[in-house]
Amino acid sequence: MAGEPLGMLSACATGEAIGSGELDGAECLAFWAERAGDETLNAYLWTGPDDGGQRIAGAPVAVKDIFCTEGLPTTAGSRILDGYAPPFDATAVTRLRAAGLPVLGKTNMDEFAMGSSNENSAYGPVLNPWDRTRVPGGSSGGSAAAVAAGAAPWALGTDTGGSIRQPAALCGIVGLKPTYGAVSRFGMIAFASSLDQCGTFGHSVADAAELLSVVEGLDPRDSTSTGIPGGLSRPTASDLEGITVGVPRNFLEVGVEQGVADRFAEALKTVERLGGTIRDIELPHAELGISAYYVIAPAEASTNLSRYDGVRYGLRVPADDLVEMYERTRGEGFGPEVKRRIMLGTYALSSGYYDQYYGTAQKVRTLIVRDFEAAFSEVDLIATPTTPGVAFELGAKTSDPWSMYLNDLFTVPMSLAGIPAISIPAGLAAPPEGGPQLPVGLQLAAPAFAEQALIESAHALEAAIGFDERPEGGGDS
């Protein structure tokens, strides 16, 4: 640790320092608990910490409020779960505890992970630590902002269509979404079951990978979990010799801000400087990803969210009869975006429309899977900007759902294909309307279960890009 202030120590190094006895685990936890408690971005919905007398073996973890934590508030950013404290831990949380990593707090999020700006939280938006008038991205905006602002060493999030990568990009940190199935979904409140995946945030690829290695693994309580065969080891690559990086040029033509395009072009040059090869590829159906996603995800959400009916837990608004109780509870408990998606999904699944909507969307999904398979027969990795633009202003897109949804244009195809992807900072760029420089993310995607290859290349690129900016003031301002 060499006298580095605790807040600047990497999470990996913090764990090593505790392991070697250089650093006291309880002291470390107290330090971060104070940081978390003092943050003013609305990044946390609950701060503990929850050490529960457990062994402390590493840096505490900010946990997105979508993960069930036994006896601790768990709302998924929704009013309908106000006051709910689950009687069990999510498997990912169980794994954190088993590894001696305390839960630092529960982070704010778009309600039921539906959103790209964190403005859909029932508990108010999270502010971007780089510019408090702007959004941190979503839906894991609280986790991303907390890490970026120095209010957490690292964090867990979930990614359904970009909910880790997009806020990581907008907050200037690393966000890693592994292959679908890598981390158990048990106890992770479902939004769209076939897409939801737990992932990690950190200041470095190594930190994000280290935290993923703690939580990944096959879980008998999740029939769709697989773990990452062979696990993950700390990345060591320093070049990209022999690595071919595919760039889907056609897909990137539309709507990318100049600043983002510039940083992306520079990143590709860095790839070549490191010995990698850039090759243009086609992802012919990727541009249909958003349309397919906005059928599949709401369809699954409409049934996943049906359990919030006021009968067993959470909010119940009393009424004279059953149907009215359902209507009032769900009417008052859910926010507008959640209602919009429940209605979309209910419609898409209804009798006579299933084939037209859900069936067609699934076919598109299969075509996208094949696009990636074809691409990965030629290249090792695929690179895109993580988002078309930098962080936008609060309220800028709330009245236009489609423009909000387009934030996820480049991240959704990987979710539909279930493949791993990471966002690393590629530098800063000014927004088109002018203003302070804001982070830009570079997304790298790899074939299913090629996490190790992905983090090796990302690690090498990260070092070469050398992004070491932090937001001014961060969580302390």
């Binding site: 106890g187 769209a192 076939s194 049934t303 049906s306 359990r307 009968v311 059953l322 009798s351 299933y354």
Partner: protein
């Protein structure tokens, strides 16, 4: 023919049977199954549908379902899919039931000439109690939910509309129940709800191959009620047709108290279930070892057993069928035949399903294990009767004492000298004496009233202490009276 239907009409009936599997634990979580335990004592976050929980299929339930599928001669799908069936109701905690939809576990089977359309796995709902006089939700002052039953594994069996009468529906249902019972995969207790049966009923002109508009009958919690309900519904439909009206597709609720059928309010059945492939589960793909294991574990089932008893053992139809559906008695039969190799299966079966069954009924149908009669002892008794070593009457008396006191029939026959009179000269002497002592009946018989011989037979039997063979007594009496 069919009950009450005019000759020009034909009943078309299909059944939907839900069988609760008697696994240790629920379909998708580790909670133990229970019946009659205090409410909400067998629950966990999974079966209460807490946020974030996931289903994990019960391997034993899948094995049981495959056994049912094979017993019904179904094809087992190499990959069947679980679906979500969505509807809001407090007994449905996730607001969707995990069931199977377009690719069920099993299809295309047949049992006793009724084709099985499909059989699939699903989970049971919770139990609701409505507070108020009617016991139904309308007009109740509140409702309570007991989640103990929620998530109990169910196999739903759907037949083709191959049944042609209410009594056939009852008989077939009973055969299905026994078939499942003998697999040992369910308690099949209709009163407790571990077997539930709905019927789809329609009528059509006899000879037509088209299907008429059907109604669905629910809540018949015994096969007797099933027959009653279907009979009532066939009458109702025939009445509608006779008066020129049309049958309307609807769901009818059977009231066992009054035997009446009440339509459910259309709102209660107007569901769009929005089926969705269950994204939390992978396809159900039983491997060949699992299928082989299920195949090996199948016992001989009633339909096959009845056929073997008839064709190979020469047992008449009625006792063969009865034995095939009463596994305990069939086991007894097999043990009897093993104990007495010379005992004819037909004779053994008649004793079992006739006199012995009657004795059991007299005792209130106890478990065979509670009756102090070994199969070997019953076999000895039947053998003695078959060889005419004792008379039928003696055998019956002995059986009563066996059932009451557990006597050994062979020993008692010796001790009490109950052997049948085999010396016909001794019998002839007794006949002669009886005819002399009863001139009245003897004359009546000789005058042509053959029925009067009964009194003489009775007197002879009394004289012999029941040890004489009735047929032989008759023969000698007729000879003595000159009837040849």
């Amino acid at each position: 023919m069919t009950e009450g239907l005019p000759d020009d009409l034909e009943a078309v009936i299909g059944l939907e049977i839900h069988v609760q599997l008697s696994t240790e634990t629920k379909m998708f979580c580790g909670c133990s199954l229970s019946f009659g335990d205090p409410p909400n004592t067998h629950t966990c976050p999974v079966c209460l549908a807490h946020p974030g929980v996931l289903p994990v299929p019960n391997r034993r339930a899948i094995e049981y379902a495959i056994q049912i599928a094979l017993a019904l001669g179904c094809e087992v799908a190499p990959r069947s899919i679980f679906h979500r069936k969505n509807y809001f109701y407090p007994d449905n905690p996730k607001a969707y039931q995990i069931s199977q939809y377009d690719v069920p576990l099993a299809s295309a089977g047949e049992l006793a000439n009724v084709r099985i359309h499909r059989a699939h796995l699903e989970e049971d709902a919770a139990k609701m109690v409505h507070i108020g006089e009617s016991g139904r939700i309308q007009g109740s002052s509140g409702s309570l939910v007991d989640f103990n039953r929620a998530g109990t594994p169910l196999v739903e069996i759907v037949t083709e509309p191959d049944i042609r009468s209410a009594s056939e529906a009852r008989e077939w249902g009973q055969l299905l129940r026994e078939t499942v019972r003998q697999l040992g995969v369910s308690d099949v207790n209709m009163e407790e709800g571990s077997l539930r049966c709905d019927a789809n009923v329609s009528i059509r002109p006899r000879g037509s191959s088209e299907l008429g508009t059907k109604t669905e009958l629910k809540n018949m919690n015994s096969f007797r009620f099933l027959e009653k309900g279907i009979t009532a519904e066939l009458d109702r439909q025939a009445g509608l047709v006779a008066s020129g009206e049309r049958v309307v597709q609807e769901t009818l609720h059977f009231d066992p108290g009054t035997g009446a059928l009440h339509p459910l309010r259309s709102k209660e059945e107007a569901h769009d279930y929005r089926y969705l492939p269950e994204p939390d589960l992978v396809p159900l793909a039983p491997d060949s070892a699992m299928l082989e294991e299920a195949r090996k574990s199948l016992p001989e089932l009633p339909e096959a057993k009845a056929k073997r008893y008839r064709d190979e053992l020469g047992i008449p139809e009625a006792p063969a069928e009865l034995l095939s559906v009463r596994a305990e008695l069939a086991g007894f039969l097999e043990a009897m035949l093993a104990a007495e190799p010379d005992l004819e299966p037909r004779v053994a079966a008649n004793w079992l399903t006739g006199e012995f069954a009657a004795e059991l009924r007299r005792k209130g149908d106890p478990d065979l294990s509670e009756v102090p009669v070994e199969a070997a002892a019953l076999a000895s008794l039947a053998s003695m009767a078959q060889a005419k070593k004792i008379s039928h009457g003696t055998a019956k008396d002995l059986l009563t004492r066996m059932v009451d006191d557990g006597i050994d029939p062979v020993a008692v026959v010796t001790e009490e000298d109950l052997g049948q009179l085999s010396d016909s000269s001794e019998l002839e002497a007794i006949v002669e004496k009886v005819v002399e002592e009863n001139p009245g009946p003897a004359e009546e018989v000789q005058a042509g009233n053959e029925k009067a011989i009964g009194a003489l037979v009775g007197a002879v039997m009394k004289e012999t202490g029941g040890r004489a063979d009735g047929g032989e007594v008759n023969r000698i009496l007729r000879q003595a009276l000159g009837l040849g």
